[in-house]
Amino acid sequence: MADFETPELKDIPVIPAIQEGAMAHSAPFKSRAPFQEPMGFPDELVDNWQEVAINKLGDLTKKYRSLKVFLDSCVKCGACTDKCHYFLGTADPKNMPVARQDLLRKVYRRYFTLAGKFFPKLVGATDLTKEVLDDWYTYYHQCSQCRRCSVFCPYGIDTAEISMAAREILDTVGVGQKYCNEILGKVYTIGNNLGLPGKALKATLIDLEEDVEDETGVAVKYPLDVQGADILVVTPSADFFAEPHIDGLIGYGKVFHQAGMSWTLSSHASEAGNFGMFIGSYDNMKRVAMRIREAALDLGVKRIVVGECGHAWRVAYQFWNTLAGPFDFLDPNYPVPQHIIEVTHDLIQRGALNLDPSANDDKRVTFHDSCNVARATRMGNMPGGQFILPREVIKASVNNYFDMAPETIHDSTFCCGGGGGLLTDDLLELRVKGAMPRMQALHEVVKEYDVNYLAAICAICKSQFTKTLPYYDLPMDMIGSVHGLVSDAIQLGTKE
């Protein structure tokens, strides 16, 4: 299928022996002027890039305690070395979290620490050369910011923070990544990552209403820009037409329909994803997040609900209140924002939905904890609710549910391999290899329990698995939305 070999799945997971340079050739397409300029980034490597990069690094260590503490504190204990899915899938030692951090740390030590200034060789400090800069571009685009390493680090060092800082430095010197920066441009000019204009979105939703009515005989609404609706739903734009994402959107609509809740989508904020986080840019992240606030104010809603999207839920849950708050104009009886899973779960608890799990008896389901939902957010009131609520929603909708191996779920979950701004075809080899640990765990439940449906609550996971499942001899359509299951189980016309 491509000019690389899909990793072989072993009987039990194996930590590979390191192979230096195994992924040195893998780097995403570089951004060009039309995508760099609207973001305020230089469109090619600036002349005094060393000086600019070092100043930026110094600046960031003063702005982010995480970066400063993480660069200082690592003792090279090796606890993280076998935790990254990209290392496990590629064996390239620079994909070990500590080694990835060291690409930046060795420059920090050289220019900002006494030991590195006077004894660089002793402490592994190096000058910022063009080779180092190229390594940054290569290997900081082999990190999906999934935070698995930080769970196991005795100091909580989060490589995501380091790779965000590195990407921001790269953008500052004019070496941006095309995929992320082009998409951010689309969000600003059109309103969403996929570049779907408001009119096209309206037409898509009308088609969707017709399809659902044809199939169910019930007029479920998918409203857009409805003034005075109670709930603004912000969802990844892939939900509007990509498979299997759209089944999730259909499910949200059916849930709101049966519960009799008034909701709307927004053409101004027709995207939950926030690529500002991927490139480590606070300003861009804030700008993208502000669209949500503006839409909520414009439409006069009382609540904001976020659809199935992993990194988006992280930004929404952890950052929105800081970036675009305070949300004191919304109904204080509900958390801001709420996840669609929390909404559906609550309705199930209150008996407001009529779900018939036997409608899904053709499916044997497992659940992939999406990395950013698992390790950067919560659902409900209880720590760990982000693991419990989706499973309860699934179990209310299906009869056959099986978890994957415990060391690969909950906060030990593996990233799908496409998160953090890497879901682009120019990184296909990385994505396929990075999916290996998840595919390994999936294969085990397929063998043992005949699992045939992999449920997820993240647009990136859904797209990534659609692409990578066939490389591991599994059908691409076994990945689906959690609300796709709800959609099939819900008995319309029985409760409303």
Binding site: A17, I18, K62, K63, Y64, R65, S66, K68, V69, F70, D72, S73, C74, V75, K76, C77, G78, A79, C80, T81, D82, P93, M96, V98, A99, A115, K121, L122, V123, G124, R147, S150, V151, F152, P154, Y155, G156, I157, D158, E161, Y282, D283, K286, R287, Q318, F319, N321, T322, P335, V336, P337, A374, R375, A376, R378, P383, G384, Q386, D411, S412
Partner: protein, 241 residues
């Protein structure tokens, strides 16, 4: 006063100054560097008491390391808690009359010294034998282990091989504390032991030994998981854009 006594006195005053001033500066810097966003790694406690308990588990039990690697945990924990006991045991050199509990732990401190050595050699073996950890090790990572093994080894030698003049050492240490300098015993093993300790104190604030204060400023562990309930705003972030 002999040159030797003078040299070691100067070393200890200097090392103590560097250790405390350096650490104070680091802690001041960490404490005054903002965390613009909530980045706690979840599942995380939703209350301050919960965070204190989480940090206690990290500091005392090395919980995350336990999840990551049992071997590194065994060696790391044996080393650190051996060292804690040994350090407490050393209080007898600077406190007169010694507190009763310092007397009580004296025999355990001996075993702790061996636990330290076991841990240190185990950690070093991993650093050499495991290809992944060998790859990430800089010369300083090996030297640091060698230095602490040197300190521990000379310490144990004075207990079991050569025998140091404990009274004279105590006089020297209390003399330093009271600015009434007393002669240092001219025992080569003791001199190596104290010399390496002084060097370690000087290196501490400029090296990876900063992991000790760093842990207490690691936002992924120390933050409370309450971003929806409480708006988190820091100065520069408020003014951004």
């Amino acid at each position: 006063m002999s040159m030797l006594t003078l040299g070691y006195s100067v070393l200890f005053y200097f090392a103590t100054f560097i250790l405390f001033a350096g650490l104070a500066f680091r802690i001041y810097t960490y404490a005054n560097t903002p965390s613009p966003l909530k980045i706690v790694v979840t599942p995380a406690p939703t209350t301050k008491a919960g965070v204190v308990y989480r940090m206690w588990r990290e500091v005392v039990l090395f919980e995350s390391l336990f999840k990551a690697s049992k071997w590194t945990w065994v060696f790391g924990w044996a080393f650190h808690f051996g060292m804690l006991l040994v350090l407490l045991r050393h209080l007898r050199y600077i406190n007169e009359p010694t507190w009763f509990w310092v007397d009580m732990i004296q025999p355990f401190g001996i075993y702790a010294g061996f636990a330290m050595l076991l841990g240190l050699f185990g950690l070093w073996a991993r650093r050499i034998l495991v290809d992944r950890i060998r790859y990430i090790s800089a010369p300083s990572d090996h030297l640091m282990l060698a230095m602490i093994i040197g300190i521990t080894g000379t310490g144990l030698m004075m207990k079991f091989v050569s025998g140091a003049d404990v009274i004279a050492v105590k006089n020297f240490m209390i003399g330093l504390l009271t600015f009434n300098i007393q002669p240092i015993p001219e025992d080569p093993i003791l001199l190596i032991h104290l010399g390496l300790v002084g060097l370690l104190m000087i290196i501490f604030p400029y090296s990876k030994l900063l992991h000790a204060p760093g842990l207490f400023f690691s936002p992924t562990r120390t933050q409370i998981d309450d971003p929806r309930e409480k708006r988190h705003v820091t100065p520069w972030a408020k003014d951004a854009n």
